[in-house]
């Protein structure tokens, strides 16, 4: 039966994440925006706090660990790990996206491990903090065209190549690296490998200076004859040209609704705060009467809220599908495309609506407007999402709709 409210069963985890966002992230949000590349030591405390919460019997943390695709069940609907993770990230990113991306052991690489790893690997990499390395200087959205190679030599993989834009790439314990087993075999030959920091041959060569999410480290990494155990290839080493990208790309079905959640969080932060500031100017939001009889500011707040709700509900839909074992590639892309573009538009408009106050560093509005831009870029740009959706709708292969 159609019911689109957040279930009571997930309220504790939402509340828990909100408390962290409010009492841990917000107070230090500006500090680490200014001190880019300084390690937020508060996060160690947070990791301990989260471990304590789970040990104390509270529900699993709000990060990306523990995401898995549940088998479709006959005994009713599930609101499970995918939904609680999205909702948790929403709250954390209401606090601060950069800090949320820096929570130990909650990296995007962890989502990849969960999505692709086999049972033994899941156990072996449990508790690891894994970053995700896909993009290269010559291949961003065009991820089938990566040049990093993996060659089997005895019982070890030998990796060579260069990765950029690796979120948490210097702070994480490990990096999940995308590399090709054979450049001539296209996307089917691309596999993911877990490379622990400290492995000889892997080096962090640079930390990027960025417009937003400055609390999060974004690293460039080189791999030079970097040797890792054979068992660190996630999933299956077979090259199945029919199945294509399937394996590694599955990660995105899990992570895109999460990025949508981040967008929903930062946009809500901006909307709420703008509304508070405008209330002091006598602008009140009322959900009745003709939209055109309202002040432009009130009408704009309502329009933004409607768009924001759309992103939020599309996120919940994609997560609900994953929790119930329903394939959701297109819906995951839809949620990310909508929520991210809305978050960017909303945060920018909120700066504009609040004028000098919005533009000033006295408020966090201008920071949110800088932070939000990355959401429409990483884990697949807006345009890549549109391609995925359009190919699915039109029944086109990537060779036809390029």
């Amino acid at each position: 039966m159609i019911y689109l409210e957040v279930p009571k069963s997930l309220k504790p985890i939402v509340n828990q994440a909100h408390q962290v966002a409010k009492h841990v992230f917000r107070p230090i949000s500006r500090k680490y925006d200014r001190a880019e590349h300084a390690y937020p030591k508060e996060l160690d405390m947070l990791a301990a706090l989260m471990d304590g919460l789970s040990a104390g019997g509270a529900q699993r943390g709000a990060g990306v660990d523990g995401l898995r695709r549940d088998e479709q069940r006959k005994d009713g609907v599930r609101n499970g790990a995918n939904m609680s993770t999205c909702l948790g990230l929403t709250e954390l990113c209401w606090g601060d996206i950069g800090l949320a991306l820096s929570i130990p052991r909650q990296g995007l690489g962890n989502a990849a491990i969960t999505a692709v790893a086999d049972g033994e690997q899941k156990e072996r990499f449990d508790g690891v903090w894994a970053a995700m390395a896909i993009t290269e200087p010559g291949a961003g959205s065009d991820s089938a065209n990566i040049r990093t190679t993996a060659r089997l030599d005895g019982d070890e993989w030998v990796l060579n190549g260069e990765k950029i834009y690796v979120t948490a790439g210097s702070r994480a314990d490990s990096v999940v690296v995308w590399a090709t087993l054979d450049r001539n075999l296209g996307r089917a030959a691309i596999k993911s490998f877990v490379v622990p920091h400290g492995t000889p041959g892997m080096e962090v060569v640079r930390l990027d200076k960025k417009m937003g999410i400055r609390a999060s480290d974004t690293a460039s990494i080189t791999l030079t004859d970097c040797r890792i155990p054979r068992g660190n290839l996630l999933g299956n080493a077979d090259i199945d040209t029919k199945k294509g990208f399937g394996g590694v790309m599955q990660t995105f079905d899990n992570t895109r609704p999460i990025v949508a959640g981040m967008a929903v969080g930062v946009a809500r932060a901006a909307l709420e705060h703008t509304r508070e500031l405008l209330e002091k100017e006598g602008i009140e939001v009322r959900y009745h009467g003709s939209l055109f009889s309202k002040s432009a500011a009130e009408a704009e707040l309502i329009r933004m809220e409607a768009d924001w709700e759309a992103g939020r509900l599309l996120m919940l839909k994609a997560a609900w599908m994953a929790d119930n074992g329903i394939p959701n590639s297109m819906e995951a892309s839809m949620s990310k495309a909508k929520a991210a573009r809305v978050a960017n538009r909303v945060t920018l408009r909120c700066v504009e609506l609040c004028g000098g106050l919005g533009y000033s560093e006295d408020e966090l509005l201008e920071k949110w407007a800088r932070d939000s831009k990355i959401l429409d870029i990483f884990e697949g740009t807006q345009q890549i999402q549109l391609l995925i959706i359009a190919r699915r709708l039109l029944g086109k292969r990537s060779s036809e709709l390029r």
Binding site: L4, G289, L291, A306, L314, I389
Partner: protein, 441 residues
């Protein structure tokens, strides 16, 4: 009434309604026997169960009300909703779509259209068993799905079909016992289809909460004055449900017979929705009895205020559902068209400029759907739906028209000429931002 009598009456009404559906030649023509049998089976099973419960207490409660607070986020339909959906989609494809163009040109639905719709059982399945119908309870979600699936067939014809259904919904939800007993059986049995809602008024910046139409109290009843706009089936209807402001009380709804002195109706040709035979209703000192007030005298108190607010929310859900259905028709049409249409040596869908427009249609369509579904779900769960219905309307007003205009754009010149239904949908979809009333789920 003793228990046995109650059981018999409840079962009688429900089974009569189900029997009519099972008997329908239209069902056979559409090849829906299997679906319908299932629908009838489920309905019959429930009629028996409800009859047993009814012996204890007659209830028109919403079905979800008893599920308590442990509910989960859920996008799945009940079996009955899915069956109704399958039936109405077939009806939309096989009956509504082919009739849409001619009905638009005639400015009226085909002669047998309303009877055919009634035959499918959508009205009987909307009236609770306790009131002689075949529904488990009233459900805004079920009504919303009906509106969506009909509008996917054709939004103009959907407006015609939904006008009497909306009238029935209003009487079920807020009518007093006598109004329900007088009015509902005819609609459940399919003998009666001539009813419509008259809320919208013909002036800019219309707001259903501040009506210009007034209902002044007299010793014997009310005197209604004002104009109502874009009323479906206006010249052929028998019953109007008119929204009017009672001074010092607030907006309320009145059941008005078209033969009342002071009531006049004229055609009102519009940009789209023409197949619903829209008309202008003029009320010039029209005297109606006290009993015309929907819900009776109790409606003068807060119950009537709540009912009217609820009606406004439910109108927004209805038009939102119409927007979703008609936008779905646009998406379903542009996909094969752009795959077949070749330019520069390949299908135009191979170009990102085209493909991205289609992806955006799909994203915004799903966005609208989620907001509309959420508002309806809240109403069924007994939660306040005012904010959600308003946001759904706000989003649909903007995005539905965007989808309409992009649909025409994707077809190019073909979208502008009447060989294709796209220009009709474009005209229909402009109504989403205009209509704020005249239907309800």
């Amino acid at each position: 009434m003793d228990n046995e009598k109650i059981i018999n009456e409840v079962m009688g009404g429900g089974l009569r309604a189900l029997n009519r559906i099972a008997d329908s030649p239209l069902v056979e023509r559409l090849g829906l026997e299997e679906r319908t049998q299932q629908l009838v089976y489920e309905g019959a099973k429930r009629v028996v169960e409800t009859a047993a419960r009814a012996a204890k207490r007659l209830s028109t409660k919403r079905p979800s009300g008893r599920q308590g607070s442990s509910r989960k986020f859920d996008l799945s339909l009940s079996e009955e909703q899915q069956l109704m959906r399958d039936t109405l989609r077939r009806f939309g494809d096989d009956v509504m779509s082919p009739a849409a163009r001619e009905a638009d040109e005639n400015g009226a639905p085909p002669a047998d259209f309303l009877a055919a719709f009634s035959e499918l059982g959508a009205i009987a399945m909307s009236v609770p068993e306790a009131l002689g119908g075949a529904a488990e309870g009233v459900s805004a979600v079920s009504q919303m799905l009906i509106a969506e699936d009909l509008a996917r067939g054709d939004m103009g014809l959907a407006y015609a079909a939904l006008a009497p259904l909306s009238f029935v919904n209003a009487v079920v939800s807020w009518g007093d016992e006598r109004q329900q007993a007088d009015l509902l059986p005819g609609f459940v049995d399919g003998d009666e289809t001539a009813a419509t809602l008259a809320v919208v008024e013909p002036h800019p910046l219309f707001d259903p909460a501040t009506l210009r139409t007034t209902a002044k109290k007299t010793s014997s009843g009310y005197v209604l004055s004002g104009h109502k706009s874009m009323v479906a089936l206006a010249t052929s209807t028998k019953w109007f449900l008119v929204a009017a402001e009672i001074p010092k009380v607030g907006p309320r709804m009145f059941i008005v017979d078209r033969d009342t002195d002071g009531v006049s109706v004229s055609d009102e040709p519009t940009m789209g929705l023409r197949s619903a035979a829209l008309g202008r209703l003029k009320l010039e000192g029209a005297r109606v009895p006290q009993e015309a007030l929907l819900g009776g005298d109790a409606a003068l108190k807060s119950a009537g205020k709540v009912a009217y607010r609820d009606a406004v929310d439910r109108a927004r859900v209805a038009w939102g559902a119409m927007a979703v259905g008609a936008s779905q028709a646009v998406l379903d049409y542009v996909v094969p068209y752009c795959n077949d249409r070749v330019a520069f040596g390949e299908p135009i869908s191979h170009r990102q400029a085209v493909a991205f427009m289609i992806a955006d249609i799909a994203i915004e369509l799903e966005s609208m759907r989620m907001l509309v579904y959420r508002a309806a779900g809240r109403i069924d769960a007994g939660l306040d739906g005012r904010r959600e219905a308003y946001l759904a309307r706000t989003l649909c007003a903007e995005k539905a028209m965007e989808i309409g205009t992009n649909g025409v754009q994707l077809l190019g010149g073909a979208g502008f000429i009447k060989d294709h239904p796209m220009e009709l949908w474009y005209r229909h979809l402009r109504a989403v931002g205009v209509m704020d009333g005249n239907l309800l789920v």
